[in-house]
């Protein structure tokens, strides 16, 4: 690792790695000592799966600018293919194979869907992807091998915190590295202005499909993780509402911000957790919060910026400044 003019300790990549490892270690210790019970771990898994889904949808919608409402469809492909494998091949090899197959199957469907539909723009693309996800759901609901509406039960469970963390880290790293690569830059150019990008010689269809495939693959992995943590899957789980929920996380966190998606998934997951004892009022409060937050912060939590130490320091300084100003006014 050679970074000009900086020691390793100052390099951004190194700091991120250390940060990630610290988060990993803290949660691992809390889990190992029993301070975080199964229930909190289940919440962490839900949040983690949502992080993967949100980051991958952000790649498609936030960075490449392609409005997709069918992410749950890819997720269901991943979940079902993984379940087929884990129900037949036992142990960790089955688990890893299941995740790989789940991701690849979703990516394959991503190609099949993406190639014809990605020439559509905006809301027309959204409705086409929505239709695709619904078709997948209806097929799963009506064929024998998926056990129809009853879904698959008693799936073997493998996901623990190290695995979960590994896959989240891998998906985030894959997405970030893609965005920093030349195809990734091309995707961002397409979001900014498709015609200008095309005029600059970017093969827009190719890069749109590439982003779509990566997004679909990651969604498939998320689905596979779902099917290896929760004991049951059924077609209804991956309905239109699931796609909408993922989109809500992405926009809430900030379109075009990876850390925003991560933060969005965490914040919404925690809100949902705290609200769960309000039973019938829960969804009303959730909806109300969503509307209020969007009205007051339409660009989402992070906008298109990334959370970094520098940003946090600036925000801290800003707050301190406000505080000092208040203090001064108080004295006068």
């Amino acid at each position: 690792m050679k970074i000009s003019g900086k020691t390793l300790g100052q390099s951004a990549a190194f700091r991120k790695l250390v940060g990630a490892l610290v988060i990993y270690a803290v949660i691992q210790i809390l889990l190992a000592t029993g301070l975080l019970s199964d229930y909190y771990f289940a919440t962490i898994v839900t949040i983690g799966i949502n992080v993967i889904l949100a980051v991958s949808l952000n790649l498609i919608t936030g960075f490449t600018g392609q409005f997709s409402l069918g992410h749950a469809g890819f997720m269901s492909i991943g979940a079902y293919f993984c379940a087929f494998i884990t129900l037949r091949v036992e142990g960790i090899p089955g688990f890893l194979l299941g995740i790989l197959v789940g991701g690849c199957a979703a990516a394959l469907v991503g190609v099949l869907v993406g190639l014809p539909t990605l020439r559509l723009r905006g809301d027309y693309l959204a409705i086409a992807t929505l239709g695709m996800a619904e078709i997948i759901r209806i097929i799963f609901q009506n064929i024998k091998i998926t056990n129809g509406a009853a879904g698959l039960s008693n799936l073997p469970q493998y996901v623990n915190w190290p695995w979960l963390f590994l896959f989240i880290a891998a998906v985030v790293a894959l997405t970030v590295n893609f965005l920093h690569s030349s195809p990734g830059r091309a995707c961002i150019a397409i979001r900014e202005d498709e015609i200008a990008a095309e005029a600059m010689g970017i093969n827009t269809t190719r890069y749109k499909v590439t982003a779509f495939i990566i997004g679909a693959f990651c969604a498939g992995v998320a689905g596979a993780l779902y099917a290896t943590y929760f004991p049951r899957i059924k077609p209804d789980t991956f309905g239109f509402m699931k796609s909408v929920d993922i989109l809500v996380i992405v926009v809430f966190g900030g379109l075009g911000s990876i850390t925003g998606s991560i933060l969005g998934a965490i914040v919404l997951g925690l809100i949902s957790m705290f609200l769960s004892s309000y039973t019938e009022l829960r969804m009303v409060l959730y909806a109300l919060l969503l509307v209020i937050i969007m009205i007051f912060r339409p660009q989402g939590l992070m906008g298109s910026r990334e959370l970094s130490l520098a940003l946090m320091k600036r925000a801290g300084d800003h707050l301190m400044g406000l505080f000092r100003k208040k203090e001064k006014e108080g004295r006068v």
């Binding site: 919608t61 409705i127 239709g131 695709m132 209806i138 989109l247 809430f252 969804m283 339409p298």
Partner: protein, 294 residues
């Protein structure tokens, strides 16, 4: 042959309902380019208002329909003023999420207050309960009424948009909001008016569905809303006759698919046709393909 004709009747009455909801979607989309997810819940509220009028106030069909349209109109304007107006200059997708939030709020708010179980409209009486027999084909008065009301409302809407001052303002706003404002058009009023019209149509659809199918519940808007939206896109979103054609097309396709052995896959086939149409004609059936200028 008789079965075929009966299926046409079935399809037309189903399609009318989709068309009526799709009109509201398409108008709002036409003017502020927003997929108003809350629209299908306004339709649900309309059904409940009609239910309350008929069950508790013992009002007749026409009175209930009018009250319901009025309430929905007010509700639509309030939603627009409170939830969408502050976001006029925000990214379109942020408004979309707000719309989803409003939709959840209406659904689960209703579920909290009236509970999740289905409600049934009081029994139909008089002219509404009549059915006609043409050979072996059954046509009920309600089916005729639904088709008639839909067509009348659509024509009225088309006249408003094409012939009146406010209609002209709507068209101008939909083309270019800033330019319209510069020309002295009150954009806010125009947008509110559009919401009022669209929501009133949703209210009418709600009461008609309530009385025709005799079953309403807080989540009743979800699927018809989705299909109506598909209908609007199919016909070319933002175009009033397009929504109408889309609604009828989807109603009839759905009816024929399930009538001739494909009941399992009827929704899948509707979506497959939609995707095909979009691939062949990316801006819907009646949509103009606009060339983007650099």
């Amino acid at each position: 042959m008789e079965q075929f004709l009966q299926q046409v009747v079935n399809g037309l009455s189903l399609g009318s309902i989709y068309a009526l909801i799709a009109l509201g979607y398409t108008m709002v989309y036409g003017i502020i380019k927003l997929i108003n997810f809350a629209h299908c819940d306004v339709y649900m509220i309309g059904a409940y208002v009609g239910y309350a009028c008929m069950t508790f106030l013992h009002l007749g069909f026409v009175a209930s329909l009018c009250i319901s349209m009025l309430v929905c109109m007010v509700l639509g304007v309030i939603i627009e003023k409170v939830a969408y107006k502050p976001l006029r200059n925000a990214a379109r997708i942020a408004v979309l999420i707000t719309a989803i939030g409003v939709s959840y709020l209406l659904e689960y708010g209703m579920m909290y207050f009236v509970k999740a179980n289905v409600r049934t409209y009081p029994e139909k009486t008089g002219i509404l309960a009549m059915t006609f027999q043409l050979g072996n084909i059954n046509i009920s008065m309600l089916q005729i009424l639904i088709v008639a009301i839909t067509v009348v409302l659509m024509i009225a809407l088309q006249l408003i948009v094409k012939k009146t001052r406010i209609g002209k303002a709507m068209r101008a706003t939909s083309q270019d909001q800033d330019a319209a404002e510069l020309m002295g058009i009150n954009v806010n009023t125009t947008i509110s008016f559009t919401f009022a019209l669209g929501s009133a149509l949703a209210g009418a659809a709600g009461v008609l569905v309530g009385i025709y199918y005799n079953s309403i519940d807080p989540l009743m808007g979800f699927l018809p809303g989705l299909k109506a939206f598909v209908a609007a896109v199919f016909g070319g979103i933002g175009i009033i006759p397009g929504a109408m054609i889309g609604g009828y097309f989807i109603g009839i396709v759905e009816t024929f698919v399930s009538g001739y052995g494909g009941s399992m896959y009827k929704d899948a086939i509707v979506f497959a046709i939609l995707i095909l149409v979009l691939i062949i004609k990316p801006s819907g059936l009646l949509g103009k393909s606009t060339r983007e200028k650099v």
